[in-house]
Amino acid sequence: MNQLIKLAWRNIWRKKRRSVITMLSVIFAVVISVNFRSLQWGAYDKMIEAGTKNSGYLQVQSQDYWEDKSINELIEDHVNFRNQISSVPGISSVIPRLQNFSLAASESSSKGALVIGIDPESENQYNELNSRVIKGSYLSENENAVIIAEGLSNYLKLKVNDTLVLVSQGYHASIAAGKYPIKGIVKLPNPQMNRMTAYLPLTTAQAFNGAEGLVNAFMLNVSDRTQVNATQLMLQDQLGPAYAIMRWDEMHPEIQKSINTDTTIATLLLSALYLIVGFGIIGTIVMMALERKREFGMLQAIGLQKSQIQTVILLESLMLGVIGVILAWLIAFPIVNFMHNNPIPLTGEGAKSFEAMGVEPVIQFAIKPHLFALMGLIIFLIMLVASAFPLTMIRKLKMSEVIK
């Protein structure tokens, strides 16, 4: 085997130019595709981050909540229950919420609003809501005050210290009504949320809705996003069928859908790239095989089994691929890493389309090891496919006909 490896290694340097071109095309394809996908994954991460900031990666809800989002489908907020949730491995924080649609009114006008009862501290720890306050200040626990989103405040022409009136149907058809001084105005990145959201401290919201000690959901943060499916299953196991455990992608189908669409387009583009590069490599390897027909015949005549000659050829292709892929990784990684650590802020139209989705307008690459592995694997497969011709040729080779 050593002998065959040595032979393969020497053979790939036999036509230096050709091998170098093959490797360069591998490097080109892998570097381009890894960077392109890292850029896209960076955007996906931003979208997921924006979405999950407002939902958590998982939510514990009452079994029937999601369909109607009814204020009657609530769950009890007990310390024991929170502990039971956070005991499941992979769950890093448990954030209670009680939200309900309501009519928000000022003296001059009114508008539908989403009133979210939050635990100011844990909410802020999870999504830094405090940092979004542009006027006034953030909520503290149990106080009788509201903070409202910028868009809503503009619509209702309300300022800090004005009074917001909320009217809604509360828990079990009670009438919910309240007057709250506006403590602060927040600017939310998601434009839709920015037009309709008001935050009350959790206990204040519970009092407003007539739902003391109840919440509609616990938002959960997880320590490893890639394990969210497993965590979901474990949690479901732990809590039993009375509760629904929703995953972020179930709560934000639009994010998953736009990632899927984007991925499909990227797959088509990259397939075209790999197809071009692949045909180039196949052509080179076919040419190599045809040129060496006589050599293969000679080798078999002096006593190499066909399988041994095939091994040499396969090793040659794989070596070219492996060297190309490793070099490509060495080139691609620093670029991806740099673009990860130095995000480029967007301005103008580009920024607007990001902002419309509630996503921070920056270009920041994501570092995803699986992208490196995937592109390497594609090259590996191309090399195998390219070897099919020489391998078949050797299998069918008639020594007596080639060594004339």
């Binding site: 002998q3 032979l7 020497r10 053979n11 340097w13 036999r14 006589r294 050599e295 000679m298 080798l299 078999q300 005549a301 002096i302 006593g303 190499l304 089994q305 066909k306 041994q308 020594m399 007596s400 060594i403 004339k404």
Partner: protein, 227 residues
């Protein structure tokens, strides 16, 4: 002692369309240590005969036995291993692997056989000195002349001490000076090592050096004599 026995050996190309009887009912035996030239015009069937003796080509009829091993009954894999272990080959050209040096080419088969490094080195150095290329051990074939390459090919064919060496027109591409050198070496090694040589040629100067001459015509033995 007989090492090769050929019985009723025939080869017909294109039997279904326009049959070419390249080798026709040939019976021959070769003894250990023989130095035999197969002589004949181009197209007389020399290559076809040698290929069948060497197990490179399959006969249409008849059989080839080497030291009581019937090549005709072997599978491709067995035959390939048999060639590696018991037969040395020298072709008209393209004998050597261009990516290996002279000494690596000579050692190649021994290495494939898994022989120890020490044995390989001493054997290949001995042979390279016998073919007067001790100073070119580490040259690749591309840096050697045609004559030197053929000498390395002879050394490779002999390196693993096969039962016999088949050389199909080994001098066809050489000038007369290199031809004479190559034959000197073949004669010397045949005498020193006692390994049987069977080579084909249509060059009278080569025939002159053989001890046994088989004249081939239209696929049959026309004459067979010792000198």
């Amino acid at each position: 002692m007989e090492i090769i026995e050929i019985r009723n050996l025939s080869k017909t190309y294109n039997p279904k369309t326009i049959p070419v009887h390249a080798v026709n009912q040939v019976n021959l035996t070769f003894k250990e240590g023989e130095f035999t030239a197969i002589v004949g015009a181009s197209g007389s069937g020399k290559t076809t005969l040698l290929n069948m003796i060497g197990g490179i080509d399959n006969p249409s009829e008849g059989e080839v036995c080497i030291a009581s091993n019937n090549l005709t009954n072997m599978s491709e894999t067995q035959k390939t291993k048999f060639r590696r272990d018991h037969i040395g080959f020298v072709f008209q050209s393209y004998n050597l692997l261009p990516v290996l040096t002279a000494i690596e080419n000579v050692e190649f088969i021994m290495e494939m056989q898994g022989r120890p490094v020490k044995e390989r080195h001493s054997r290949s150095k001995e042979l390279l000195s016998a073919i007067c290329l001790s100073n070119r051990l580490h040259s690749r074939p591309g840096k050697l002349s045609g004559g030197q390459q053929q000498r390395v090919a002879v050394a490779r064919a002999l390196a693993h001490k096969p039962k016999f060496v088949i050389a199909d027109e080994p001098t066809a591409n050489l000038d007369s000076r290199s031809t004479a050198d190559l034959l000197d070496i073949m004669v010397k090694l045949n005498e020193q090592e006692g390994i049987t040589f069977i080579f084909s040629t249509h060059d009278q100067r080569v025939v002159d050096r053989a001890r046994r001459v088989i004249v081939f015509e239209d696929g049959s033995v026309k004459e067979d004599y010792n000198k």
